[in-house]
Amino acid sequence: MRIPALLRLPPRRLLALAIPWFVACSPKGDEKPVIGLITKTASNPFFVKMKEGAEQAAAAQGATLIAAAGRSDGDNAGQVTAIENLMAAGAKAILISASDSKAIVPAINKARDAGILVIALDSPTDPVDATDALFATDNYKAGQLIGQYAKARLGATPAKIATLDLIPGHPTGAQRHNGFLSGFGLPSYEKTRNELAQPPEVVCMTDAMGDQAKGQTAMENCLQAHPDINVVYAVNEPSAAGAFNALKNAGKEKGVLIVSVDGSCRGVQNVVYGALTATAQQYPLRMAELGVEAAMTFIKTATKASGYVDTGVQLIAKDSVAGVASLGAEKALGLCWGDK
């Protein structure tokens, strides 16, 4: 998931309301099975890519894909409405990236009771088994990859780490943060813990909400307190770009390692430019393809997908180091999401 800056906006259900219309207006007669895709937002490039992949896969397999989205990350009501409308539209399977992992569960239960296959993409529900299956990035592993890389690059130099985190209590933010520390070889928390570990090497730990401007402010303040920071972990690429700005303004962009997670086209380009040392790339297209495939299997054979499927994460770095496998930035550009 590319974490957008957090909106505090009222729920928007218009998109979801449009679904029955769409279905009513499509030509009758062709009995194409309907697959629903519900994303957190319709505008975030990560979900745009996911929708693209799902549409292509559905078209190739002879199914109709209906996409719906909440207005903003956190818009649970909009997603509940979307589930209800997809049920009314006769969807056989629903792929969903839940905005609110707990609050969405009752609506998902209703759909599953009606015999619909529900697969979580990108974000797990709480509890995880509220959906039939989960196809997602392993965020802890993503963190570990960039942690290992940063440690290998830093070598024996004592680490002074700044972490630009998401918001308190967000599972994605906690998994990436704790994974990074674990990969770095520092004492950290296990995957399931929702708090952030802070070993003494982390000299500045601050929330930047995944936003570029807030990331810059946070990094500036960290540098005031600790001018000798040599490793920066940022929860996503926009906040990493903010951190690079702060370092550049302070004349410290050389020699500080900046690592992050996402693999968006802009992030990978920053790896090429040297504004980002390394990133862990995730694959929304693959989540969507696997999701549609599982849906078609269910529609054709009534076999339900189950459990967790890791959709893969790959370390992207300009300079490879011994002992840590990484993909060059040029190759990663072919796999990135968002505008190039």
Partner: protein
């Protein structure tokens, strides 16, 4: 009267107390470079807060200012990067769009008599959606130097001061003179105190309110340029928390949310209080959640002081 003065002196005292506290806690706090950094960090919210102060003084509120700013910064970068317009024209275009958005707010408030809260809640959503559609939710990079020049700094006594921060201080100077020395400025207070009696006294209240909302839009345009200058990119995700951040700054600065009372420079002090706590607590190594906690407590204290001074 003394209590009323206190309402205005209060924010300044709070700021000085906070500065003293952090200076004692960290030797790095009271340095020119650090204080200049804080000034730079509040310049976007600071400029937006000028427009917000004007609107709140008339008894209204502008919830759309942050999103209108995002729309402005996307307009500027789109025109300059994608359409290859001269950067100066692109800047003018962006400010034109934000001023127009402010005008829409003003017309809805004055002509259709809708409450400002509802109007700007609506235009906030519209501005967000248009920003996402126009930019296709993509960030613009590689902007021409003219768009980012306000982010550069000039060295005064060996301390780098950002041009953008100077621009903000200049705008506060303008706003201060406008409100204090001109008839229109006094009318802003009159309208906020009692719209009906202001109208009966011969003030063209509709025109005044319209120009206040347009000025708020213009401030959003300037803030858009500052935000581009600071981050070096046109970011469609920017501006999402700025509306309430400006209200926080205005309220901390002692301006009454009921309109008619307050000082525009108070809002600068209010924005600085938030910035100083964010910076100071990081220097002390305190988690950023406490900064939010402190801001919450201060907002309640500020409004309580306002209520108290109103009663006496």
């Amino acid at each position: 009267m003394i209590v009323r003065r206190l309402a205005f002196a209060g924010p300044l005292v709070a700021l000085l107390l906070a500065c003293t506290f952090f200076a004692l806690q960290s030797p790095r706090f009271l340095t020119g470079a650090n204080l200049s950094l804080v000034l730079q960090q509040v310049m976007v919210v600071g400029v937006l807060a000028i427009g917000q102060t004007l609107v709140i003084l008339t008894g209204g509120i502008d919830l759309a200012c942050g999103m209108i700013m995002a729309l402005g910064s996307i307009t500027m970068s789109l025109l300059a990067v994608k359409h290859g317009w001269h950067p100066a024209v692109a800047i003018a275009g962006g400010m034109g769009v934000t001023t127009l958005a402010g005008m829409v707010n003003g017309l809805l408030v004055t002509r259709i008599k809708l409450p400002p809260f509802i109007v700007t809640l609506g235009t906030m959503n519209i501005a967000f959606a248009v920003t996402q559609l126009v930019s296709r939710a993509q960030t613009f990079t590689d902007l021409p130097p003219l768009l980012t020049c306000l982010g550069h700094s000039v060295r005064v006594a060996n301390t780098p001061i950002a041009y953008g921060a100077l621009a903000m201080l200049l705008l506060y100077g303008f706003a201060f003179v406008l409100l204090r020395e001109t008839a229109a400025g006094r009318h802003v207070y009159a309208v906020g105190n009692n719209l009906e009696s202001a109208r009966l006294a011969g003030i063209n209240t509709n025109r005044l309110l319209l120009s206040v909302y347009m000025l708020s839009g213009l401030c959003a345009g300037v803030a858009a340029l500052l935000s581009i200058a600071r981050t070096g990119v046109g970011d469609p995700q920017s501006g999402q928390t700025e509306n309430l951040d400006t209200v926080t700054a205005v309220v901390l600065g002692g301006t009454s949310l009921f309109g008619g009372r307050g000082l525009v420079v108070g809002s600068l002090v209010g924005a600085l209080i938030v910035g100083v706590f964010r910076n100071g607590l990081t220097l002390m190594g305190v988690s950023s959640v406490y900064q939010i906690l402190v801001t919450g407590v201060l907002v309640i204290l500020a409004v309580a002081t306002d209520q108290w001074s109103r009663k006496s």
